[in-house]
Symmetry: C2
Subunit: 332 residues, 2 copies
Amino acid sequence: MIQPVRWADDAVEYIDQRHLPHETRVVRAQTVDELEAAIQTLAVRGAPAIGVFGAYAVALLRRNISDDAAFEAAVQRISTARPTAINLSWAVDRVLSAHDMLAEANTIHDEQRKVDQLIAQSALPLFSGASRILTHCNTGPLATAGEGTALGTIIAAAARRKLSVYVSETRPLLQGARLTMYELREAGVDATLIVDSAAAVTMQQKKIDLVIVGADRIARNGDTANKIGTYGLAIAAAHHGIPFYVAAPRSSFDLSLESGAVIPIEERGSNEVRELNGAAIAEAGTAIYNPAFDVTPARLVTAFITEYGILQPPYAESIPDLANRPALAVLA
Amino acid sequence: MIQPVRWADDAVEYIDQRHLPHETRVVRAQTVDELEAAIQTLAVRGAPAIGVFGAYAVALLRRNISDDAAFEAAVQRISTARPTAINLSWAVDRVLSAHDMLAEANTIHDEQRKVDQLIAQSALPLFSGASRILTHCNTGPLATAGEGTALGTIIAAAARRKLSVYVSETRPLLQGARLTMYELREAGVDATLIVDSAAAVTMQQKKIDLVIVGADRIARNGDTANKIGTYGLAIAAAHHGIPFYVAAPRSSFDLSLESGAVIPIEERGSNEVRELNGAAIAEAGTAIYNPAFDVTPARLVTAFITEYGILQPPYAESIPDLANRPALAVLA
């Protein structure tokens, strides 16, 4: 299995995902500048994977920075390198409060692998009558540093029965086209790429059985921030009576937030839209609105798939109840 | 105003729109191969513009090909160069049945300009309370060889009151990013580019007042074939309670078709999705589903805007009634 993030004793090694699928470029990050840039540029991306990366980053920074104030400033930069995914600050806080920071980072990484396996197990019954699946963006091993969330469920289900997977390319950065199609090919799963705007007609014509996506942050009421385009998919799925599932670990739920209205949504630079592979698409100076995420209201989510099983509505009960679940070590 | 198609006595001249906005390359087509290729490659595109181009093409072919069987075979290639837009075969048939083919082609072109002006006039009342508009693909002068359909209404309305226009980039060929943004800049209209999958959140956050698009073929019941992504926009607009208008001339209505289920939908090559500006996005051999159009069910269309005014539901009455309208010369 591909390993997007790895502790390398004197560095955090990662695959620069911006060059996939054409090139697997492994990079070593050592300084806070390098660590922060890896997250900000989306060289490392995927909510759980940036959590794992952030955990290793803090352990490395503690080893290299003896001055406490400087260390805290560096940690703050890592923790806030991207605003929407909650996993990043969750992992950083967890490492900070541990006695042995590297051991805790390793535990977070080990847990992510286990969590992903449990999410895939939780999802299996949902695939029992479903063979045509639509997914968005990338939620596989590259996105979690484990087995994947939504894409992990698809790969696990495809090992048991034949699936046809439709993948939306996920403009502007094309994680669906570049990463998900690559991971599905590696896994030997039948997959077809579509442009994002073809998702609705694909639901209509190909009789999609279910849509499954990941999440960057889920509020207490079930409102879900995820990659731009998720909201439109959820609306279209509801319009066609297709179940719409969100697969995400406990660490993606932010129980402190009442609703999606208060999830911070990252707006990224216009060049992500205006240029592709360095070539301009639109004219210089074009005004561009580039929200990296959108928030899907809880009412459009059929269920959440977690390592603790499937969370059904009413989410106002099932999601806060996550706080009462045993820690994973107990569960395992 | 930009002139995408022009009669040049011994050729049909056109702007190769694949190079816009970076380069305005004017090309001369003389042979049936050149004329057919201009349509098939989308160098000339937009349902009304390919109608005008097809009309001139037939007039030129009649001038150059004396053998009737060879002429008929050439005309057949032009008429079927793209399957979805009805304007192409409509214009070809009209020129074929005329005594003076070039005069008829010129009339079709003149009428298109007049039709576009009338469509813009028809639409003005719809913009009276609307300042935030969302549109898709390109429906301006480049698409009609006149003043534009949907984009023509926007440009005309923007001359009277300040509008903010959101333009979806329109993958795979990016007509929104490349052509509509260019035409709106030329017209001095405030415009913002978004990726296609950001349309739903833009409706939610920017409080879009109306969505307006063009059409390639409209069935007798109001089902509307248009650029891929239109259907998803219509679903999202309905979800947000936003009016969804289709601006199209009489020549885009195919009264012979009972419903959209029988509109032929062109599937185009996978390279349109897999490559951009010659650079690969996904791996070679990637399976791709690339429908160039989708069909929006009539129930999602708030009204049609035509040169004869606004067609309201029930479309089963208002659309077939187009057959009873006076020809444009009488109307003018």
